[in-house]
Amino acid sequence: MEYILKNGIVYDPTNNVNGDKKDVMIKDGKIVDNVSSDAKVLDVTDKLVMAAGVDVHSHIAGPKLCLGRLYRPEDSRAGVVAKTDITRAETGFSIPSCSATGYRYSRMGYGTVTEAAVPPLEAKHTHEEIMAIPNIDVSPLALFGNNWFVLQFVKENDLEGLAAFVSSWLKISRCYGMKVVNPCGSEAWGWGQNVHGIDDPAPYWGVTGGEVVRALTKVNEMLGLPHSMHVHPNDLGHPGNYPTTIATLDVVKDIEKNPNVLRDQTIHCTHLQFHSYGGTSWRDAKSGAEPVADYINKNKHVTCDVGQVTFDETTTMTADAPMEYDLYKLTGLKWANKDIELETASGLIPVIYSPKSPVSTLQWAIGLELFLLIKDPWQVVLTTDSPNAGPFIRYPRIISWLMSSDRRTEMIENKEVHNWASKRTSLPTLDRVYDWNDIAITTRSAPAKILGLEKRGHLGIGANADVAVYDIEPENFDATKASNAAVVEDVLTRAAYTIKDGEVVVKDGKIVKIVPSRHMWTNVTGFEQQEKKVLEDIMPMFNRYYTVKFENYKVFDHYIDPAIEFTIDASK
Amino acid sequence: MTYVDKPTVSNVVKFDDPKVKKVKKITVMLNTGTDIYQGACKKRGSTLKDEYRKVAGVAYMDPKDMARLAVGNWESVKVKSDWGEVICYAAHSRDAPHEGMIFIPKGPWANVVVSPETYCCNDPTYKGIEATVEKSDKEVLLMADLMRSVYRKYTKNEKNVDELPSLGEMPVFTKK
């Protein structure tokens, strides 16, 4: 099938196309420079055209999500939609059912989403859910930061072994990259404890978070994985945690980037908002965004996503289990927890972010500060750490805030938000606004580059034909006007067209076609010998302390159908 | 294939114990649930067999209660509750003593006397049911016969279902 999108206003930062009126041509699922005469013409004259969105960090599939859906029927009830001839029934607001997840991302013009936390023991579950999610390709990241084998290798300072372990565990769990969450803290949670800062060792192991992040980042570059170290630092959500955050980023500063990778960074810090707090307690908490943004402005080896608070009743879920228990002690709302043998832990709890609450407002303002203080949009990506700071369906609302400082001022001055926004942060003084090009960078081009996806996030020749068209005319529309914020949100919530691999899956905000999501995973080659040896070495420990047989541990091919394999040669 | 013809139970019922007063009927609290004999037999699929009525059609009782009723291991008793009555074997409970409490493993026999009431909690009342137990001279029915006499799905117009010939211990169906 061939398409030609005619006369759209195209934003394609990767290829320096900045709001030019041009046609986009599609053939066999790719962007091409010409099509035959029988190409189908889609007239998108003067409409906003971008590559399909890419989400660098979201929680959409796996055990945590499922636990959330299982124990929050009141949330499932909040998003019930009846089946149609094309779509299946939807449920859920903050933790939508699998089909709802695919439909909602697709309606927003997104085509690729990263599932940010996969415990290898339950990777089959994650892949089962990805099979149930339509219309978006998913790049799952496996959890390594509290894995006993990793702690062992780090303790023995055996990087060779660690690299082999990582490459074989990526194969076993069929994951795209590495994720580290509260390194050593989740292991401490195995005893109901936590660690504080990057130099606080995990009980028994005597290994620190800093050592784990450094070792795994070295390994990541040694192997040349497409994506970098993806870290959720220690001390999430604690007032005064920003020094820990900066220390975590700095501990890998001197590590050489692998020459063969597309990305510029060696470390990606996720949901930075939760890690940029000043003060010593919630009583005197204040923004720590400035020092953190300042560090990032000075250091190109770092990228981040924000985890913007959206003022919703949502569900927090993270492998940072001790933090979730702290939240439980604060709010008393129903607390769930799931510890996973030899690998990780996780916790869940419903949260209500209210604009009337000082803390919620502070978190909201810090998120926006980071967007506005980090100068290079290629270093900062739009996320809500969905659903932790808010459900992903709120991305368009965040964009409306970024594009209009008038709207932000309005919210502060009309007391739509608590006065901590002005008392505890610098937000009121920031009048920077994002234009459509910046939006295209922070929602498409940058996340694709950070993930090391050369065929996504742009509209150059040969790129995947993942395209989004929005029913708005950038040239005749002033997104900076406060009164237009609602329009921006509305229009970006329902794409005029979403095209996935050259097929129209959304038209006028409605799902018109279902395509299966593909499982993206990284296959490291050229390391087979080391992998074989490492497996032999660790097998006794595996057999004794896991409760499943190794043969039944791995993810079989039929759980990742259809798949996209990213083969990299580690020997290069 | 190795399996038991009936569960192993101790046999220390003292019928001549002067302290126990003989009665015709006792009131008990009935509990149901799984037990390993029932589980093994059911999941193997041997539900038509005599073994199944021995492992599921049995009321495990406290020996004192058995003495009161003058009923020995593998003799028949009638268990009656607000929801029905069923004949099952009496047997010495491995978990005794628990006077005034009987246990019938889950299965078609227990189903006759447990309560379907869920109290709007989807789960029926399988435990803590008030029931009476008395000695009976009737034989415990095999599963197929029990299902036929309790639910009468295909014998609605039969006058006297219990007088029909037994369906036996093997599947009954006509082959092509």
């Binding site: 939508p96 | 379907p116 989807n122």
Partner: protein, 446 residues
């Protein structure tokens, strides 16, 4: 039981098979295969072994339908499937019950059929751990994978559960006996506690037995929580347990390094049902203020938890989901099987991989005598005596591979070791056939 010589006459061994019995999903079973038969099983408990060494006499091998005299007659697959599809297509309140002893792959087809015809779909949780799920939804769910207990736990509590009878390898493989990373002496490094009115086979081997009175669970946990909050107990005896014992037990639970609470149907089936679990969960949450505590329900079937997980990720609700209005609806007591049967609402009942005839109260089963019943199963059981159409499935984990979820939600791919009988069909195939045939009938009606 007579002694039998070990089986030596077999062709080959299939290793690391997964047991298709209880929620422990032991995946270390070795099947000894001769011809196309499993002639012996290694590592399985008495329950697992007996299921895998099935009773051939009662294996359902051919499709059957009732004739005018109500007797089952062998028919060919097309006849049986068409008749079943006809019933489902014309039903106003169809109910599809079971699923806990088949694969996730089969459930996927089942849910599509359910959604298409607007039926109610429900599983065995509705008569076992449904109240647990409700309690979890009310107050939360601090759980763990079983290896956490094996590697860390120094106190293990079983309440309202008798694993020695229902999950015989649970203590041996996961919780009490195995040597863990931090518990190298196994059993000697752990305190085993049983709370149960009965001196059950598990209580008999415990270090501490707390025989609270029948229906006393709620008040007992409430008292422990009060003690945790530093309250002086009023009564001398609570739920049949002396005041001092409760205080001592509370102290002991506060002072372990890692405690695990496992609970079973003894809690979900007694007077205050889901509230027993509700408060037990609250207790474990409280204990986490002092030390590490986790809990886990002892799920009965090898995929009963799998169905709840599958439904949660597909439709946002764990069980008892009603699609009659085109969207999923989950309302305890309204969209759940036993309540619907008590109300005599369903007009067609399909049971797959379950046995209501053996496990539903007679009062509920009475309605199955009034309506058409379609059975998909591998053995002739009590439900067959109430079934109008019988469709013989295959044995997951022995004859057919499939995905299941252990009681602690660890997904396991159960491989197959032998071929199914030629005349049987895989559950997944049967349900998909029904879906296709129902669709055909409905489309033609349009």
């Amino acid at each position: 039981m007579v002694y039998e010589e070990p089986v030596t006459d077999y062709d080959h061994i299939v290793e690391n098979c997964t047991c298709a019995f209880c929620g422990s999903n032991c995946d270390d079973l070795d099947y000894l295969v001769k011809g196309n038969h499993v002639v012996a099983v290694r590592h399985a408990c008495r329950l697992g072994a007996s299921k895998i060494m099935e009773d051939e006499d009662q294996r359902l091998k051919v499709p059957m339908m009732r004739d005018e005299n109500g007797e089952l007659q062998e028919v060919d697959w097309d006849t049986a499937l068409d008749a079943a599809a006809e019933l489902i297509a014309n039903a106003v309140r169809p109910l599809f019950y079971g699923w806990s002893e088949t694969s996730i792959e089969c459930m996927k087809k089942g849910l599509e059929l359910t959604e298409y015809v607007g039926a109610v779909i429900d599983n065995q949780a509705t008569i076992c751990h449904g109240p647990t799920v409700q309690a979890v939804q009310n107050v939360g769910y601090p759980l763990m994978s079983l290896g956490e207990v094996k590697n860390r736990a120094d106190m293990v509590v079983y309440t309202g559960s008798n694993p020695m009878n229902a999950h015989p390898r649970h203590l041996a493989r996961y919780s009490v006996f195995p040597r863990g990373w931090f518990r190298q002496r196994g059993r000697f490094d752990r305190t085993l506690v049983t709370w149960d009115p009965k001196f059950s086979d598990t209580a008999k081997m415990s270090d501490i037995w707390v025989p609270f009175e029948e229906n006393g669970d709620y008040a007992f946990c409430n008292a422990i929580r009060a003690v945790l909050k530093g309250k002086e107990l009023k009564e001398d005896v609570i739920s049949g347990i002396p005041k001092q014992d409760i205080i001592d037990l509370t102290e002991a639970m506060k002072n372990v390094e890692f405690g695990a609470l496992f609970f079973g149907l003894g809690l979900t089936h007694t007077l205050s049902k889901q509230r027993n679990i509700d408060i037990a969960i609250g207790l474990v949450q409280d204990l986490n203020a002092y030390t590490k505590w986790v809990l886990l329900p002892m799920r009965g079937h090898f995929n009963v938890n799998g169905f709840n997980i599958f439904m949660a990720y597909q439709m946002g609700f764990p069980y008892g989901v009603d699609f009659c209005r085109g969207y999923p609806r989950y309302m305890i007591g309204e969209t759940t099987t036993v309540d619907l049967l008590n109300r005599e609402e369903p007009d067609v009942f399909m049971v797959i991989a379950a046995d209501p005839g053996a496990h539903f109260p007679g009062g509920a089963n009475m309605h199955l005598a009034n309506i058409p019943v379609i059975q998909i199963d591998i053995h002739w059981g009590p439900s067959t005596e109430l079934a109008d159409i019988v469709l013989p499935g295959t044995f997951i984990g022995v004859e057919t591979a499939g995905t299941s979820y252990r009681m602690d939600s660890v997904p396991i791919h159960m491989k197959s070791a032998i071929n199914p009988p030629e005349t049987c069909r895989e559950d997944e195939w049967i349900v998909n056939e029904l879906y296709e045939r129902v669709k055909k009938i409905k489309e033609e009606a349009k």
